[in-house]
């Protein structure tokens, strides 16, 4: 359903991506891991139309996304949970979620979606009238994920959703993501620093280093890959 081929992206003279290709089919969950500055966020932003590639193709359900505006891509049921939460700080939690279901299709199912995300994250229901900016970092992260789900996406893109979350919440959230993965045919593209947990729900994974794909394979393969182990898994 998603096809990225030979993607090159740069910030001025800095080359962030140099010929990245990934693919994702319906209902699949794919993890992208890699160290800081590897280009993970750049890749996701390019898919979502926030950055323009210098070269390469991005296709979603057979349609090219290159040159489309980010809001047009959102209208194709691609949700992006951005790095660093990016909740609308001066709006209430509820209004943030409402914004998540701004596109026409999602708006029709707003009520159900709200119930659904509130059941996933009860804290948000408790705090639905609090200004998002005054929520704790972790709470904001929950909100960001929930807001992404409000779009009723066919493809959910998550940029480091576990960052700043307490272990319990991370576990719970990945449980929910795993559940969604199993019960729906939503495709997921997850970027994570927390490699073990990402690979625990992903079917496949890519390792991105210095702007290009270094290693790729199924989660099980990656888990035992010595290089991956050394860089991202082992600890002492």
């Amino acid at each position: 359903m998603l096809n990225v081929e030979g993607l090159h992206v740069s910030y001025g003279s800095i080359k962030a991506l140099q010929g990245v290709s990934i693919a994702l089919s319906q209902g699949e969950c794919v993890a992208i891991v890699g160290s800081n500055g590897a280009g993970k966020t750049t890749l996701l932003k390019t898919i979502c139309g926030l950055l323009k590639p210098n070269k390469g193709r991005v296709e979603f359900e057979g349609k090219s996304l290159v040159g489309k505006m980010a809001y047009d891509i959102a209208n194709m049921a691609v949700a992006h949970v951005p790095e660093g939460r990016r909740v609308f700080t001066e709006m209430s939690v509820l209004d943030n979620l409402i914004m998540g279901s701004y596109v026409k299709e999602a708006k029709a199912h707003r009520r159900e979606s709200l119930e659904y995300v509130f059941s996933l994250f009860p804290r948000l229901a408790e705090r639905k009238d609090q200004l998002a900016g005054t929520m704790s970092g972790g709470e904001q992260q929950m909100l960001a994920v929930a807001r992404g789900l409000m779009l009723k996406p066919k493809l959910l893109i998550l940029d480091e959703p576990s960052s700043g979350l307490s272990p319990l919440i991370v576990e719970q959230m990945y449980e929910k993501l795993g559940e969604i993965h199993k019960t729906t045919d939503m495709a997921m593209l997850v970027v994570e620093q927390n490699v073990p947990i990402a690979l625990s729900i992903a079917d496949r994974g890519y390792v991105l280093e210095n702007g290009s794909i270094h290693v790729s394979g199924t989660s099980d393969e990656l888990m035992v890959d010595p290089e991956v182990k050394a860089a991202y898994l082992g600890f002492h």
Partner: protein, 289 residues
């Protein structure tokens, strides 16, 4: 006692006018986040729009809203599209710089097109008053005052209850993320700027029922609108209305009980005192729509 009441009522009515001119500004300022120093000139264009409509149709000024509102909506969209878009992310000072330029263009453009003559709209209720005991209420001021409440109310509902209203706020807070939500931010800003200008045009129409029209007619109102918007709390509609009323009352009382040149002084001092106590204006952002 009667005098006191009259002074109060005069103040409230002027305050209503201040509130009226501030509603569009608080929207533009609060949503598009543009510091528009040409705001008073938008009022002025609204006044001329009503004036020319009246000249050609003879319509009652309230009916000229049918023209001033869409015309100003268009003006707002055009200015947003060709000017403001370029400076939305720029520092406030850059915006001031651009809009001061715009102010000069509009003021002097009007001067070149319409000349410096003072004009006015003539209509049946212009000189009418309501009298209750010794208290006198000019009808045209009352109309302007009422309009400010109606427009503020409509805008409030629009911003807090509709998706597009909320999208305006989201787009201001974080453009990129708003786009990820499927919000066409450019369109949203066009609409916001259009509505802001339309509201300001409506204010111009209301003001032309009692003020006189010439290229500088808006200048004074521009500054007052800024003061009101800040006093009330940026982007807060309730604040704009309450702030406007307070300034009007302070001005009226200052003139009557201190001296005729102390009206504005009192209004300004009130402003400073309020901000010393509440640095974010009367109504802080929390209650903002």
């Amino acid at each position: 006692m009667e005098l006191l009441l009259q002074v109060l009522i005069s103040g409230i009515l002027i305050g209503g006018v201040y509130a009226l001119i501030s509603i569009g500004l608080t929207l533009l300022f609060g949503v598009v986040d543009i510091v528009n120093f040409a705001h008073g000139e938008f009022v002025m264009i609204g006044m001329y729009a009503s004036y020319w409509t009246w000249v050609y149709t003879g319509a009652d000024p309230i009916l000229t809203l049918v023209v001033s509102i869409p015309v100003m909506f268009l003006v707002g969209v055009i200015i947003q599209k060709y000017l403001f878009t370029h400076i939305m992310k720029a520092p406030a000072l850059t915006q001031i710089f651009l809009t001061v330029g715009l102010q000069m263009v509009l003021q002097n453009g009007a001067l070149m097109i319409f000349g410096s003559n003072t004009r006015s709209i003539a209509f049946s209720w212009r000189e009418e008053t309501l009298k209750a005991g010794g208290i006198i209420i000019p009808v045209n001021m009352l109309v302007a005052f009422s309009l400010s409440f109606i427009l503020a109310g409509v805008l409030f509902v629009f911003l807090s209850k509709t998706d597009i209203g909320k999208a305006m706020k989201a787009a201001r807070l974080d453009r990129e993320t708003a786009m990820l939500m499927g919000i066409n931010t450019n369109k949203v800003f066009y609409i916001a700027a259009g509505i802001a200008a339309a509201l300001t045009g409506a204010a111009g129409t209301a003001i032309s029922t009692f003020q006189y029209i010439q290229p500088l007619s808006g200048a004074h109102f521009g500054l007052m609108a800024y003061i009101v918007v800040i006093l009330g709390g940026l982007g807060n509609l309730k604040g704009a209305v309450v702030g406007g009323l307070l300034l009007g009352i302070a001005e009226s009382f200052g003139i009557q009980y201190i001296s005729a040149n102390s009206g504005l002084l009192m209004a300004f001092l009130l402003f400073i005192v309020v901000l010393v106590i509440k640095p974010k204006g009367l109504f802080s952002a929390k209650e903002a729509v």
